[in-house]
């Protein structure tokens, strides 16, 4: 369970988060949506143990800032928006770096670590790429590799910052389906995204961040509404629903 209590963050003298409260139950997928500069990435960073200027982030009742760096990395993994791609590394070596929180400062991977790495590669359909250099991967393969590295941390909580923004829609779905499959293991997922349709399709909860506050929070259908989105995105947006209840957000031009 992740709990945010009146979390405030100030950057360069400017308040970015004004007092955010949010509860994400264990095993849930919570999507953070909101316009550019709303504070989604800052919020993710605060949950990951980044600096806050007030309030508290609790993981299973324990303040995240009171947990040591390595212990925190065993419970929480982060997939950044544009992760650095190391040129010299194979997929297997890259994913193996996810075992860092389990190794001593000068330690190296043992048999158990290699087993976990192999499992993560297998789960993300990457076993065939294990010996490939990461620089030779397609966008989708690279994104799966990054998620595999995060899963090698064996976290309880997975934080995704725009995890599929560079992918075409097919690969977006593939990566997110893989992440969704992992939730069977009680994995809690918090993702920041601009794709409202995918947020609605995959998350149990949606939190709309605007101006450093969570202005709406609830089930996707409760938050992804035309009036709410149009007000906070400053655009005329239509929300369409198909027969199966899937939501799609369509922008409307102000001029014909």
């Amino acid at each position: 369970m992740i709990e945010l209590r009146d979390v405030r963050v100030v950057r360069g003298g400017r308040p970015v988060l004004h007092g955010v409260n949010l509860d994400v139950p264990r095993g849930a997928w919570c999507a953070l949506i909101g316009p550019n500069g709303a504070g989604k990435s800052t919020l993710l960073r605060a949950i990951a143990g980044g600096p806050v200027d007030g309030g508290a982030v609790l993981i299973d009742g324990q303040p995240v800032h009171a947990i040591g760096r390595r212990a925190r990395a065993r419970r929480m993994a982060v997939v950044d928006q544009q992760p650095t791609m190391p040129a010299d590394m194979t997929v297997a070596d890259y994913v193996a770096l996810g075992r860092t929180p389990y190794l001593s400062y000068f330690g190296r991977e043992g048999a158990d670590d290699r087993r976990v790495v192999a499992e993560c590669l297998d789960r993300l359909d990457l076993m065939a790429f294990a010996g490939r250099r990461v620089t030779t991967l397609s966008g989708g393969e690279w994104q799966r590799t990054v998620v595999a590295r995060a899963l090698a941390q064996q976290p309880d909580v997975l934080l995704l910052d725009e995890p599929t923004s560079a992918l075409d829609v097919g690969r977006q779905l593939h990566v997110l389906e893989l992440v969704d499959r992992l939730r069977g293991d009680d994995l809690t997922v918090i993702s920041a995204t601009h794709d409202l349709g995918l947020a609605a399709a995959f998350s149990d909860r949606v939190a709309l961040v605007s101006g450093g506050l969570i202005v709406a929070e609830g089930a996707p259908a409760e938050v992804i509404r035309e009036s709410v989105l149009s007000e906070h995105y400053g655009a005329d947006l239509r929300v369409l629903r198909d027969d199966e209840g899937h939501l799609a957000v369509v922008p409307r031009r102000t001029r014909p």
Binding site: G49, D93, A96, A118
Partner: protein, 363 residues
């Protein structure tokens, strides 16, 4: 997150993961053979003819419990053990230190142009050496010439100053602020060094000789003096191979993996500085080794810092011994400054490496 029982594919894949240790050992063995070969060439070749077989036998004769008559004359033995051997040993040690330091800095700062002099150690050592030559020639400290002492102190202080200046820039803990601190300190110290150097015409030549690097006057005392620093530095840096791989993912990701990037960077910088300042103190400023050698090693398909660091050290040692051989034989009996040879050989090799790598030789 719990993990399910591994699938057969995963179980099979474990065998292939993640590092093929045997491949590293094969490469290390090859690199050791190359280094030993270069060192033997350095011992065999010189102005005084010494039969290679005699050199090998004489070395074996110095091993415990081995007694072999090498057939060398007293004069040949003196040339071998008092001139060539310390020179080759120091060349291998200094080259290894510079190669290792360059690879470590390229990883620490995620910068393919980084070399061990990045944070001002060369400028500081240059100032220390220049002060010793201009103002304290002939003076000693406890029987020890002041030049290496002041060069070492100057190099170490320059990096300490760069770290302080770097930390004073804003949050001051990133690799960029550290590099900027190094640039500021190096520029300032180089200006002071130039001023001190120009203040005395009669010592200009000696200062230039030092700046261009030298192994010509190497003695066992210098090897003994720097060996502890170089060994401590090398051990600490070599133990950081995996941490440098983690730093390569960027500071944010490194932190999310439970690593404190600023602390790792600080430890590596201190260790590299210890080794580089000691190497520079006895060999002067030998350029290009630290930047070229790691890139050449990468070109051989070496991935990851756990392999790159030891191989860069071995290749750096071999490269400098070979360059020194060239320096003393190309225009024999005259000698070229070693720094000139490393640059003359290193620059074209570097260009070829970059051309062949087509951008893949990034840290």
């Amino acid at each position: 997150m719990s993990t399910d029982a591994p699938t057969p594919a995963a179980t099979a894949g474990v065998q292939a993961l993640p590092q093929a240790a045997w491949a590293l050992w094969v490469r290390l063995t090859c690199a050791v053979v190359v280094l030993v070969g270069c060192m033997l060439a350095g011992l065999f070749i010189g102005a005084v003819h010494i039969p290679p077989g005699g050199v090998v036998l004489d070395i074996l004769d110095h091993l415990p419990l081995v007694h072999i008559d090498s057939g060398l004359t007293e004069q040949q033995r003196d040339v071998l053990w008092l001139l060539r051997m310390p020179r080759v040993a120091l060349g291998a040690l200094v080259g290894a230190t510079l190669g290792l330091g360059g690879a470590a800095y390229q990883g620490t700062f995620r910068n393919p142009l980084a070399d061990p002099y990045l944070l001002g150690v060369a400028a500081g050592a240059g100032l220390g050496a220049t002060i010793a030559i201009v103002y304290a020639q002939g003076h000693s400290l406890g029987g020890q010439s002041l030049l290496p002492v002041l060069a070492f102190a100057g190099g170490a202080l320059a990096v300490a100053l760069a770290m302080l200046v770097g930390r004073s820039f804003g949050e001051g803990r990133s690799s960029t602020t550290l590099i900027l601190g190094g640039v500021a300190v190096a520029t300032f110290l180089t200006a002071v060094q130039t001023f001190v150097q120009q203040s005395r015409d009669d010592t200009l030549r000696i200062v230039y000789d030092w700046i261009l690097g030298r192994l010509a006057t190497s003695q066992w005392s210098e090897v003994r003096m720097v060996l502890p620093y170089l060994v401590v530095s090398a051990v600490v840096v070599l133990l950081h191979g995996r941490m440098l791989d983690v730093l390569g993912l960027g500071d944010d990701t490194a932190e999310s993996l439970g690593v404190n990037p600023a602390r790792v960077r600080g430890i590596v910088v201190i260790a590299v500085t210890l080794g580089t300042a000691a190497a520079v103190a006895v060999s002067g400023l030998i350029g290009f080794v630290g930047i070229v050698v790691p890139h050449v090693v990468r070109l051989l398909g070496v991935r990851g810092y756990r392999a790159l660091l030891p191989l860069s050290a071995l290749a750096g040692g071999a490269f400098l011994v070979l360059c020194d051989l060239l320096a003393r034989t190309a225009l024999s009996p005259a000698e070229l400054p070693i720094g000139v040879v490393t640059a003359l050989v290193g620059a074209p090799v570097f260009a070829l490496v970059l051309r062949s790598a087509r951008g893949s030789a990034q840290p």
